[in-house]
Amino acid sequence: MSTPPETTPPQTTPPQTTPPQTTPPGPALAGSATTTPVPAAGIDPRGPRAGAAVTSALLAGVLLLGDGAAGRALLGLVVLLFASGVLLGPARSVLGVAYRRLVAPRLRPTTEREDPRPPRFAQVVGLLVAGTGLALALLGVPGALVVATALAFVAAFLNAAFGVCLGCELYLIGLRLRTRRA
């Protein structure tokens, strides 16, 4: 996956300063203590969550329409939104920009900033699931559209309603499986 150069969008709120790590590393694992670095171009954590709300509403629409021309077209739109999140990152994706222009000005400004990598990873997972479902549906696999859409809906709804980052959970499970095999 190519990473475009990080350009900082004009922000209305001051960037958050990360508190310095004061804890020295332990003797057992000397030199290994780190703080999770939050890049200066951190994003408003409410942005991806608002995006997930829009995504889950659209996916609910696909489930209501079912596997037909309209359902496929709507799922295609969701796939494009996921692709924009993967390629442009959560700050510059279609829903990210829509949040910053339309929603954020109406909310209280927050100094809280989130690392944009986890939401981007979630977009990758969403793109894979929704994209596979759409491709299989177009190839004529029965039920593929509904199953994939339902999975993507569960993930988006969990993110929007509960703040659960399913992509993050999957990432750690993947990391664990990789080490076990190694």
């Binding site: 332990g26 703080t35 990391l175």
Partner: protein
């Protein structure tokens, strides 16, 4: 209609279950290896964080504040990518996982997800008990 209702029900149940578990400290499952850093004389809050983790920075800030305000307690954050062996050895399934390590390197409690300051203080309370301190000093 039925697929939507099924998905909605499933998502809500999973969400409620995860929220209930989030940040709740439990006793360690078995006697774990003493391979974790011991920095605080009373307790070290060892936070294992993956790179893809939305709540990890917030939990790190919270635990650093708790550690700074509690004498003998320290907070250490380890990158899961740098310590894959810890994931299996300490049965880390979610990120972040916070292990409460006492002054002797024994794991005394563990939690995962969005740990709050109040939850951290609650799990530290018995370790900060004067009697527990005496045992460690002996």
């Amino acid at each position: 209609m039925i697929p939507l209702i099924t998905a909605l029900l499933l998502a809500t149940l999973v969400g409620l279950a995860l929220r209930r578990r989030d940040g709740r400290f439990t006793a360690p499952t078995a006697s774990s290896p003493t391979d974790l850093p011991v920095v605080g004389s009373v307790a070290t809050l060892v936070q294992i964080s993956a790179e893809a983790c939305a709540v990890c920075p917030r939990v790190a800030r919270t635990l650093t504040e708790v550690a700074d305000a509690t004498p003998g307690v320290a907070h250490v954050e380890l990158r899961a990518e740098d310590h894959p062996e810890l994931l299996t050895r300490h049965d880390v399934r979610r990120s972040p996982t916070v292990l409460v390590v006492d002054g002797l390197g024994q794991v005394r409690g563990r939690a995962s997800g969005a740990v709050t300051a109040a939850q951290a203080r609650t799990v530290l309370a018995p370790l900060l008990d004067p009697e527990a301190l005496d045992v460690h000093a002996a």
